[in-house]
Amino acid sequence: MAITRIPSTTHEPLLWEYADSKESTDVVEIDDRYGLYIDGEFRSPRSRSHFTTVNPATEEPLATVAEAGKADVDDAVAAARAAYEDVWGPMSPPERAKYIFRIARMIQERSRELAVLETLDGGKPIKESRDVDLPLVAGHFFYYAGWADKLEYAFPGIRPRPLGVAGQVIPWNFPMLMLAWKVAPALAAGNTVVLKPAETTPLTALAFARLTEEAGLPPGVLNVVTGAGETGSLVVAHDDVDKVAFTGSTAVGKLIQRQLAGTTKKLTLELGGKGAHLIFEDAPLDQAVEGVINGIFFNQGHVCCAGSRLLVEESVHDRFVDKLKRRLSTLRVGDPMDKNTDVGAINSKEQLDRISDLVESGRSEGAEMFQPDCELPQRGFFFRPTLFTGVSQSHRIAQEEIFGPVLSILSFRTPEEAVEKANNTPYGLSAGVWTSKGSRILWMADRLRAGVVWANTFNKFDPASPFGGYKESGFGREGGRHGLLAYMDWSEG
């Protein structure tokens, strides 16, 4: 016997907007003006020159920062040389390890402060600086601290000797992480450092300098000279620098290589990329969508190993692109300080213009553009996540590094064609292979000319894993045991 039931009011679906959830900036103190960190103290620049660093999400100035000139760089290199000769070089390896471990622990303790500062100065979402950048930064210092007193065992037959003074120039996309990639192995191998952070993102390097001071790191072991390209050029060209490490654009990398030709300086370069994602028909499609999204929209696409070219097997092309478009529409673009933001601010006006220009070229060359209909903040540098379909190898957007949230989609028919297209670029930094077939992963990895090949995942980093490029993506490896080699004299047994 059925009983008459009275339905309650009908339920409209809930259009669920997440309320603002902003990370507090109370944990950071930003000075109005920063000097150069030379020989264990902050100094006014002898150049008397300064520049302003702005928050790219608001265009508001954050601080005035010194611009190091020739005399300042001379001072920094001299301080580093003295510290190398007198203190850091002669110090016993276990003692050096203690300092690096202490720095690692202090980074961990202050990771919230450093993450907020990274986001304010660089524009990346707070959830990334909090959950990805800072844990990796601490991880790198811990990892290389562990090597410091075990260098004799790192490469059997090679007696480890430091090189001397390392001049390091780092980019703005992962300011703190690139610092860690370079400073941690340099110090662990017994070198001293002159670091030049990027012009648009100097604040975390300066905060790090202060942290090393509190850690009691002897004066001169780490020196931070802020400035633009000019300052970087002074650092790498300095006669008393023994080792140059640069991460940045391929154009600048080529300049540096020319500058260093004929000198005895050791050089490692980590340059641009145009990474390919290869999606086979039998791939785990929904996870591949996540991998592709992460590969190109992580850090607004300001990633040298970004998967900026997507190659999809034709039989699943349309289905995959539909899934991708839908997923693109769920990305939350906006205030980087909101804990729910997925895509933050473009690092600078200059970069925004470059992205806009390349996107325009994609349209005029005939590729089809898709952007989700999301609202962008009124102020600040923002760019909508963008897909291009119908892209040909000959389009600029398939060849040039855009370094922004823009994905170019091409198709392939066979594994051979996939390899050929993936390798058809002057770059060779990263690639991702998506298939359920294990043997195909190995077959592809053998043939892809890229420093990293990820299988069924993307953008995975670990301090123990070496990273670096083929071809015009640079040479030398950072991370892992390999990363030590760049900071050791291993010419004689």
Binding site: W16, P284, K339, T457
Partner: protein, 317 residues
């Protein structure tokens, strides 16, 4: 609470195990690491203020308040039904839950106790929780609970048959149970804790939807693990694929092991960012839970008063 018209199977009458196997082989594979990473990333969503209040309210409206114990009595079911209608007697603004979920011989008591309240009655059937009995008996049981007034039937699939590759047996039981349900809605429990791999979960989801499920449901609550976020994500992705292919909307019910509003919030985030607004209603999403309700009530009171109340202030029925 109203329900959309019940569905039919989308596959032709003359399907066989080989045709079903071919169909299931076409289902995209699942990468377990990737699925776990996706839900971990979504679990960091920070839900505050009014968006939190709206979600807590929705959680109650999406709840199938459940008692499935050997010691269940009419008294227990009647008391739970009162709670289902009026979860917080001190606050009439708190909505009723979607349904009460009970064993078959408790259906008449639940139907009587919820009469006029808008709360639906769901009954487990098909020899819950193992499902290991004759198909004929399972169908009879389904017919009985529907005749007793159940609005929704929560059936279990034959996991042994699924794992043995006897896809037709699984498909046919779902289809026939669907027919036996008449106008009642059918939720198909996959018991994902026994299917173990996410590939199996995705295929079983597609099989159940193809056979006519109105909802797919993770678990009986009798097997550990019960509902998990990766399993729920994969089932939601299957629902999305099925909707893309057929235009048919199917509902989702994670059940078992969801005890706190914080956990339930993560399920809602995964739902919201996988299927979107069309599914953000009790018509298409349910939580199978018993102890979750009081935790949600406690959170609501905290939002309203800024203080946590003692558990003694919330009724236990």
């Amino acid at each position: 609470m109203t329900l959309a018209p019940a569905r039919q199977s989308i596959l032709p009458d003359r399907v066989t195990t080989p045709t079903l196997r071919t169909f299931l082989r076409g289902v995209p594979s699942v990468d377990e690491v990737g699925a776990a990473e996706r839900v971990a990333a979504l679990s960091t969503r920070s839900i505050k203020k009014e968006s939190k209040r709206a979600a807590l309210d929705l959680m109650i409206r999406m709840m199938d308040l459940t008692t499935l114990e050997g010691k269940d009595t009419p008294g227990k079911v009647i008391q739970m039904s009162a709670k289902a209608h009026r979860p917080d007697p001190t606050d009439p603004s708190i909505p009723s839950v979607a349904a009460v979920c009970v064993y078959p011989n408790m259906v008449p008591y639940a139907v009587q106790a919820t009469e006029g309240t808008g709360v639906l009655v769901a009954s487990v059937a098909t020899y819950f929780p193992s499902g290991l009995s004759d198909t004929r008996l399972k169908i009879e049981e389904t017919k009985k609970v529907v005749a007793d007034g159940a609005d929704e039937v929560d059936m279990v699939i034959d996991r042994g048959a699924f794992l043995a590759g006897e896809y037709f047996k699984v498909f046919d039981e779902i289809r026939r149970t669907r027919e036996a349900c008449g106008d009642a809605h059918l939720k198909v429990i996959l018991e994902t804790g026994e299917l173990e791999t996410l590939d199996n979960v995705r295929r079983a989801s597609m099989l159940a939807m193809a056979a006519g499920a109105d909802f797919i449901k993770t678990s009986t609550g009798k097997v550990s693990p019960a509902a998990t976020l990766p399993v729920t994500l994969v089932m939601l992705e299957a629902i999305r694929d099925f909707h893309d292919a057929t235009g048919v909307q199917v509902g989702m019910k994670p059940a078992g092991g969801i005890r706190t509003s914080k956990e339930a919030m993560r399920y809602l985030v995964v739902l919201n960012e996988t299927l979107g607004v069309d599914w953000m209603t009790p018509e298409w999403f349910r939580f199978g839970a018993s102890s979750l309700l009081n935790d949600v009530l406690m959170q609501i009171r905290w939002l309203e008063t800024g203080r946590y109340s003692s558990p003694d202030y919330f009724t236990k029925d």
